[in-house]
Symmetry: C2
Subunit: 318 residues, 2 copies
Amino acid sequence: MTLDDILEKINKAENIVILTHESPDGDAVGSSLAMQLIIEEIGKNADVIIPEYSRLFNFLPAANEIKKDSEIKKYDLAIGVDCTDLKRLAKYEYFENAKATIQIDHHGSNSMYADLNYVNPVSPACCEVIAGMLKYYEINITKDIGTCLMTGIITDTGGFRHSSITPETFEFTADLIRIGVDVPDIYKRTLRTKTRANFELSKRAMERMEILEDGKVTFTYITKKDEDEVNAEPGDHEGLVEIGRDIEGVEVSIFIRQRENNEDVYKISMRSSSYVNVSDICFIFGGGGHAKAAGALIQGNIEQVKEKVIKEVKKALK
Amino acid sequence: MTLDDILEKINKAENIVILTHESPDGDAVGSSLAMQLIIEEIGKNADVIIPEYSRLFNFLPAANEIKKDSEIKKYDLAIGVDCTDLKRLAKYEYFENAKATIQIDHHGSNSMYADLNYVNPVSPACCEVIAGMLKYYEINITKDIGTCLMTGIITDTGGFRHSSITPETFEFTADLIRIGVDVPDIYKRTLRTKTRANFELSKRAMERMEILEDGKVTFTYITKKDEDEVNAEPGDHEGLVEIGRDIEGVEVSIFIRQRENNEDVYKISMRSSSYVNVSDICFIFGGGGHAKAAGALIQGNIEQVKEKVIKEVKKALK
């Protein structure tokens, strides 16, 4: 059983590093810190390396111990969480150099890139996969571990909203409330709180939003100049892609965001409402994700990127 | 026990009417329709009279049976749901004229205006109060009843988000998923779906939003002219008051909405983030509600109303 092998590897390792994907969301940061705390419960220590993340996650237990980098170049064990591919791991060189590797994930598109792969694609969040591991290991869930896990569940389900949620998700949440995890506080900090910069970017994204294809598609964008003008920090563009999707009748929302100043490269984010598989569309451009939430990088200026993406979206519309 | 007396009154009545508050939200419409379905389970019939509600709630079971008015002037029994005061009930004359009255609510400020009052102020939604009644009566929750109850719980907790939620709320949700209630669908229809008009009104409200008092207070407004220009329907202003509250650092958000064209009367809606009791502030202006969500009607033009409200808000800020 993979879970027994994972526990054995953790027990054998002298030094352990935990990595997650670039532009980490709540599930990525929550899973990383939960794993760190669990490894402590097992009686070991682990470094969490996340070079850049939204300050909204600073409230998480042990967030102040997150390292941007490490002096240990060759870890005994590297653990990747919430990440589909080796090269998407931020600081993946630590993973490549490690003597042994484990990865834990919930994406159907996972490429099984570790020695031991524990992937449950029906789980709504990597944090829920980790919750299952805890149950298997019969490790007590502390309030701190629960807070990390709840953060991933809340952010990856959009606040108990996505079709991926299960009765077990709700029962687990009830259990966490009973041990003192402040679910409304986590919800507010991670999903509802908009930074001032995010509010200003939302305004611009809404102002520019085009509603196309008979109301089925929305398109909007943010440039690096916009981000500079509002003093945006990492994560301040979060949620902008969802504004379009949530308009009545919209099936696909497209949000593009310039990667660097004066550069014609855009990060596209797509969301779908019911039937369009946006992961398939992003795959055409070398990206991927989930059926209803995906992304990719595309070369071109705003008009060119828009044209390329909408051409593919049109084919998928009913 | 009040619950036994309520059941007895229902069993004795030949004709029953269910009423709820004006500008009904999901908890109001959900509670009304759930009560109607429950009364059917008991073996009786009831009319639901709601003169005006958002078409977002048209998906609810039996929504097509909602009446705008009735030909029966004197009902044997009138049941008010989710409403603090007699005069806030839409078509309250049916309540005044009824031979017997019951009301079911979860607002702490309830004025106990019926013959039988069943009020649980710690419940996050009137629908959760009704769920408790079902348990007491040992009535089986059907998928339809569950859909109505879930609608009230989702909308009144802002999607499992408010501090009013309990472990029991989550466990009840898990139970409802298991009997086939489509929680993500209800969530999407009631909380995430924005009508085009709501999107346009949000844009205007955000464009005009003033961030005051060192970032602790936001103020914005919508006129009747705005609503006319975007073809707003009942309910299309929902959620606008929350935009301000969700900005980092904001304690109180104020949203005012003109009642009629060319009339200097505004409906104020207020939300607070943690410590300000906006119900107390709205009470000064003859309104009320919950500590973190309240409303009132105020005379004056936009500037006058703004000044009056902010003067009171300032006193409550730390």
